[in-house]
Symmetry: none
Subunit: 235 residues, 2 copies
């Protein structure tokens, strides 16, 4: 079965050239021309690799990358960027990319890196990578791939999609306050805006699951007027 690649690039001459060459290599290529499309296509289908230009309309590449990582931590992501600066690369790698190429790039090198990443993806999903997607704090454990949690008092529960996604966001940003706006954007998207009560409900739920004393949280803090913060006890 052909491997599928999502190519996110707004400049027609470039994406057509890349698409053509990738197809010659035997990949099945889907193109998205802006960040919104990218997220939409990512959600509606499954890919073995995502190639992501940083500078794209509507939602920039970094944010697209973060959004994707909230749902799926496995797909390899390759960044493309017009600039060759170290900060850009570092930024990209930190937001969860697996590789980075600066434009203009050599086609053969590009194709080689693509095939490495696709192969890696296979290796990862074949062997089952435990532990990369779970997180522990206190006596609690969150398993992102099975959507299950086990808590300090020995209970095992399964969380819903939203619960998991928001929890993941908080854990990834642990130690930092995440604003309500950011939460709304990252979890609910850019057009849907549920009432702000809704977020509280999720925090409430987390405290019920994980805190020994709900009224005096040790992990899930609210910061008045700003947002919420998750903090793990020890590292």
């Amino acid at each position: 079965m052909a491997d599928r690649i999502l190519l996110v690039e707004d400049e027609p001459s470039l994406y057509e050239a890349l698409k053509l060459n990738l197809e010659i290599e035997g990949y099945n290529v889907t193109v998205a021309v802006d960040g919104e499309q990218a997220i939409e296509k990512f959600k509606s289908s499954h890919f073995q690799l995502i190639i992501l230009d940083v500078m794209i309309p509507k939602i920039d590449g970094y944010v697209v990358c973060e959004t994707i990582r909230l749902e799926n931590s496995q797909v390899p992501i390759m960044f493309l960027s017009a600039r060759n600066s170290a900060e850009d690369k570092i930024n990209g790698l930190k937001t969860g990319a697996d590789d980075y190429m600066s434009k203009p790039f050599n086609l053969e090198e590009f194709l080689l890196r693509v095939s490495l990443l696709v192969k890696r993806g296979h290796a990862l999903t074949d062997t089952g990578t435990e532990d990369l997607n779970s997180f522990e704090f206190g006596g609690n454990k969150v398993d992102f791939s099975s959507f299950e949690i086990s808590t300090w008092d020995g209970e095992v529960k399964s969380l819903s999609k939203r619960e998991m996604k928001l929890l993941k966001l908080l854990i990834e940003k642990r130690g930092k306050v995440v604003s309500r706006e950011e939460i709304l954007q990252k979890i609910w998207g850019y057009d849907v805006f549920p009432s702000t009560r809704t977020i509280d409900n999720y925090i409430l739920a987390y405290r019920k699951y994980f805190e020994e004393n709900q009224r005096q949280p040790k992990y899930f803090f609210s910061v008045r007027g700003v947002g919420y913060k998750f903090e793990a006890d020890s590292e």
Copy 2:
């Protein structure tokens, strides 16, 4: 336990700086100053990552890389090179490297790539690809080669191709939620998209075959908004 890195580099000022920085990051670093030493040390010990300068005395980097790959080793290898030419990179990646950096490079980027590669190595070496011919859970047994199943209540049935393929996917990923998109892509391919009801039907069928109580499944769980998960009771 600290991850071990084999650093192959002949220039003292460079390898000392890198060694120091890697050690600060918590790695255990072994240095080799030429190709011969590199191969020797590689053979006598196990590393999570090999960092390989191309231009080193006695045996050059490419050859060292090929030699290591001949041992059928999965260790991630990162090339360092003084030149930034595309041919060099291509050459390196073709001989089996996983990443490539040109000197002079940004230290932070270097350390980030190192940590990515080390993590990847862990994921790869975790479990060898299992290749199953049959699988048992509860009182049920699935035989993938004969397409037959026998169930807890003593029945023997044979499954259709699709049924088996999807069942195998779920079992291979047991314990993890498999998204509908992934199922569609892996079982049906990228051009055919049956209605999402279809997948439910297969799950339904599995529950009929294997579950004692269809309404309270013990093995085939659905995770709303995400996909399905198979879980075997004991291991």
